[in-house]
Amino acid sequence: MLFNSLSFVLFFCIVLVLYYSKLFNWTNKKRMLLIASYVFYGMWNPPLVILLWISTMVDWTAGKRLAAEENQRKRKMWLLLSMCVNLGFLALFKYGDFLLENFVTIVNAIGIDFQARPMDIILPMGISFYTFQTMSYTIDMYKRKIEPARTFLDFALYVTFFPQLVAGPIVRAKDLITQFYEPKKATMNQFVWGLFLLTIGLFLKVVMADTLLSGTADNVFSSDKLLHGIDAWVGTLAFSGQIFFDFAGYSTCAIGIALMLGIILPDNFRYPYASLGFSDLWDRWHISLSSWLRDYLYIPLGGNRHGITRMYVALMITMLLGGLWHGAAWTFMVWGGLHGTYLILEKLQKQYLPFKITKWNGIFLAFITFSCVNITWVFFRARKFETAWNMIKSMFYMQTDGEKILQSFDIIKVCVVIGILFLCHWIMRNTSMKEVSLKTSPWVLGIIWAVLFFLIVIAQGSGEQFIYFQF
């Protein structure tokens, strides 16, 4: 079910009525939320709820055993079981065809004639999100960083909680399960602020991403022609904005919806396009994934504890796997590799060419960072290397006579939207929406809210899927 759909409006109204009615005690409210979460997921493809159940059962059992077991070998086995099941699901459902395709390429390269039919397995929505979330639970249990969930219901709800089930934020057990222990009820202010966040999130998705930017990005990236430099840049900028508005929109909706139920989810985006360098970017973009990768991949790989070379290797592996997390294609690996390279170059710069960031050079640095990020988006969005390489050639004028496919209006529209986006991020980079709203008069806030809602309604979103659902 999509947040930007009438089915969700009806679904959420029913959930809210049941949640705030006096029919149920807290345990039954949690049961209702759990069932609602399965309905939310099952409305897309009911049989795939079974995967959620398996994941829940395996990690609940593993977590319980990890809490009780003292034998280190057995504990390792339980952790391994959880990892195998979770990563096995990912390998089969998400990477099956990719692995098969590469296996065939390698086998053919060494002279063996072998062909395999693609498995064409359906990709369960949000599988990367909920497997990472459940894995964090068992890993933390193994490291004895957290207490086991008190009840199966609490754990099942942690795995399945519908606001963040299919596209995050990826929430750690300590941050979410513990909230289920005591009855939760949003205060009036929390409820209204949650509704405001839901409006903002829908506005970002329906108006900014789908209405203003997606068409231009799709035109450019679906073109099989060598494009004019301006068209290539504008298409890339459009995608850059689209993916931010789409994903930040989803996260904002998720946070708002949870808040309306009295549950607090962590921020997932903090104005990333005004980042001063790439470490800063990863502290601001998809924060729940980057902190997951840091804690469960980069640090176990050695982090910065074993010298510079090892640190660079750990960084690169983390970013390459981070790229692969997004999708089963080499283009995503290149995307991750570019980010890894940027991070390494930034660390080298800080070591050998340090300089102080002032308010004067800051915006310039943010602009450079944003420009470099745009280059990575080419590989993220292009379905084939050939398309990506053609785009890069066009963007850096490595070929002349590129074809023009965008109208002047499209170019102006994208440049204005992205320009405003960049400036907003720059202005907001050290503050938050909540802080700004506190300083804003109720009238202005009310008018802004009404304008956003009006635009959402007249945009008439056709229920476009969020980009990150495919990851």
Binding site: M1, L2, S5, L6, S7, F8, V9, L10, G42, M43, W44, N45, P46, M188, N189, V192, W193, L195, F196, V207, D210, T211, L212, G215, K404, I405, L406, Q407, S408, F409, I411, I412, K413, K434, S437, L438, P442, W443, L445, G446, I447, W449, A450, F453, F454, L455, V457, I458, A459, Q460, S462, G463
Partner: protein, 347 residues
């Protein structure tokens, strides 16, 4: 922070502004009305009927001429059965025909309305239709529920007009109506700026707005756009090499369908000279339509051969107005019954 006040202000302004927006568009009944618009969702409801259809059933395929010229309610009055309407405005019916032949066991009668500039393009032009077909097979319960919930809103609110026309009322269409200096020529099919000249009912029959019959300048809005776009269709000589393969694709599908007992009838509805000159430029009848009918060996009706098919004046050069479509459907069905391609039933 007290948020009650902003919420109340937002609610009041939203209600006022949306009401004003709706009332404004209601003042333009020549162009807009509230109705359940045709979409892949509504099409899927008709497509689902194919899976339980019998050999007595009839399916209508075609592009907009099928939708505007053949009315399924009149068809039912005349023949006794309501046909399944799978015509799709602006799309090559080839992909839908392929779907019925290859993905169903339907063995009734298919009436295919042929608009040459849609039907005879190569298979690569099927991609748009395939999106609808894929939607039918992949639609989720959430999609179905969403469409069900949207029906009362669409039936009652004019501001929800969204028909893939140039003058739609969704924000994206409204923004795209802002025109600056052209950087890329829009005189190509992708740049079509066709203002909506019709609406549909819930059985997906298309009806021309009365304005199209009443005033020449409304007709000009459409025919000028046909002229602007169609002038760019290629010459027959440039595309003739692709035609044998297109005809062969259809022949294979038709043979497969006939081998399981199905019947197919082709109809060439009228188009006015203004439109037909472009159709003949790219797909001249003597080299394409005649060859096609000769190859596939199916019964066919060409408007030039039947007086009842050619007697109407088409306001936009390509489609009939709502009143003419009623008598035309009646005559067409009677002709099909007379020629024993379909049977009159008492249902």
């Amino acid at each position: 922070m007290h948020l009650k006040k902003p919420l109340i202000i937002a609610l009041i302004i939203s209600i006022i502004s949306l009401t004003a927006w709706e009332l404004y568009w209601r003042t333009k009944p020549d162009y807009y009305k509230a109705y359940l618009e045709d979409s892949k969702y509504l099409w899927s409801e008709q497509r689902a009927m194919v899976d339980t259809a019998t050999s007595d059933d009839i399916i209508l395929l075609g592009a907009s001429r099928s939708g505007y010229n053949l009315n399924t309610h009149i068809w039912k009055e005349t023949q006794g059965l309501i046909p399944i309407n799978l015509s799709v405005n602006g799309q090559n019916p080839g992909s839908f025909f392929d779907d019925i032949v290859n993905n169903t066991s339907f063995n009734g009668t298919i009436i295919i309305s042929v608009t040459p500039v849609a039907w005879f393009w190569p298979k690569s032009s099927w991609h748009k239709g395939k999106q609808w077909i894929n939607h039918y097979y992949n639609q989720t319960y959430a999609h179905k529920l969403g469409h069900f919930l949207s029906k009362p809103l669409q039936r009652n609110l004019v501001m929800l007009t969204k028909t893939a026309s140039y003058n739609d009322l969704d924000l994206k269409s409204l923004i795209n109506q802002i025109e600056l200096e052209e950087r890329v020529s829009t005189n190509i099919a992708g740049g079509i700026k066709l203002i909506s000249f019709g609406y549909n009912d819930e059985q997906r029959n298309l009806y021309m707005y009365p304005r199209m019959t009443s005033a020449l300048h409304f007709q000009k809005e459409i025919t000028n756009e046909w002229d602007r776009i169609l002038i760019n269709v290629p010459d027959y000589e440039d595309i003739k090499d692709s035609i044998p393969s297109t005809i062969n694709t259809y022949k294979n599908l038709i043979d497969k369908f006939k081998s399981r007992g199905g019947n197919i009838v082709f109809i060439r509805h009228k188009s006015e000279k203004g439109w037909d000159k472009y159709a003949q430029k790219v797909f001249p009848d003597d080299k394409v339509w005649n060859k096609f009918i000769e190859t596939v060996k199916c019964p066919s009706y060409h408007y030039e051969d039947y007086k009842f098919m050619s007697k109407y004046k088409l306001p936009d050069w390509s489609h009939m107005n709502a009143d003419d479509a009623k008598t035309y459907t009646n005559d067409m069905v009677n002709q099909l019954i007379k020629d024993k391609h379909i049977k009159k039933t008492t249902n």
